[in-house]
Symmetry: C2
Subunit: 174 residues, 2 copies
């Protein structure tokens, strides 16, 4: 198997900007006429109101398969099932050859929770269509993902308004 010419980018760390930076890559890809897919492993209101609205505007394929998968969930089995289903869809997309770029947003969490096997995740990414670039976001990326990534960035919190008791501001924070 020849090495794919595409790239794997990883945005991890406890700071802000992991998903926003992935989104910047998505937009850059859009500007070049690439076919882009997004699989969102955690339902996130901020993506719904912001990036997702834009994605609709730009006709980007968007899969919010993480719906129902939240930390407040009272039914963890259901959440795990949702995450596994999201991964099945992502795996199909990765090997389909239909995408120039796939964003796996917040993908590290189901790995950390053991809901998706790390080995299966690594194999799905390694065995992707050679043309398909991948951007993965989420805190605490497992070492295997870091090894697989061509480019990995840690977003580190230096200072955060929350720490100073300032409430999240609509538009900026969510």
């Amino acid at each position: 198997m020849s090495r794919p010419t595409s790239r794997v980018l990883l945005n991890t760390g406890d700071g802000k900007g992991k998903s926003s930076a992935a989104f910047g890559v998505m937009v850059r890809a859009w500007a070049r006429g690439w076919t882009v897919g997004v699989v969102q492993f955690i339902k996130s209101e901020k993506w719904v109101v912001g990036e997702r609205k834009l994605a609709r505007h730009l006709d980007i394929n968007w899969h919010t398969l993480g719906d129902g998968f939240t930390w407040e969930s009272t039914d963890i089995d259901h959440s795990a099932q949702m995450a596994r289903h999201a991964f099945e869809v992502a795996a199909e997309m990765l090997k389909s050859g239909n995408y120039d770029l796939i964003i796996l947003d917040e993908f590290t969490y189901p790995l950390t929770y053991g809901w998706i096997e790390k080995d299966a995740a690594i194999q799905a990414i390694k065995g992707r269509s050679p043309k398909t670039n991948v951007v993965i976001t989420g805190r605490n990326a497992p070492l295997e993902l870091l090894e697989l990534a061509d480019t990995a960035t840690e977003m580190r919190k230096l200072k955060h308004a929350y720490d100073q008791g300032i409430r999240a501001r609509k538009g900026i924070e969510y």
Copy 2:
């Protein structure tokens, strides 16, 4: 002077994603119907082909005042002059009250080079219209900016494809 309810966000560090994350904030603001302005202190091809095309698409005000201000410039005086002019325009925008969000992209560089006085920069940001949120990007942010920021994130390079001799890939890297 009452404390502005708006925020100052700072994305610094040597890793990737500083401008992309700022761009994600821009898009989120757009999705909420905010008036957004961008002042780009360094001419950057990647913004031209990607984010800038989108900004045009979304009718976002864009000021590429850094045109001609590059590290390859053979006329440093001219570059400094361009940067100072860009700052004058940014300062006007900051106090105008016409913007919900202003992005000062790559703003740290002219500060580091001494082309714009740090004190003047801090005063312009502190004295902005209370409604105007500000996002600043660039490496090596001076301490004064970090102190002023409500939220500061360091993008740290964990691993980079360039280190492994892989050429930049169109669409992903620029």
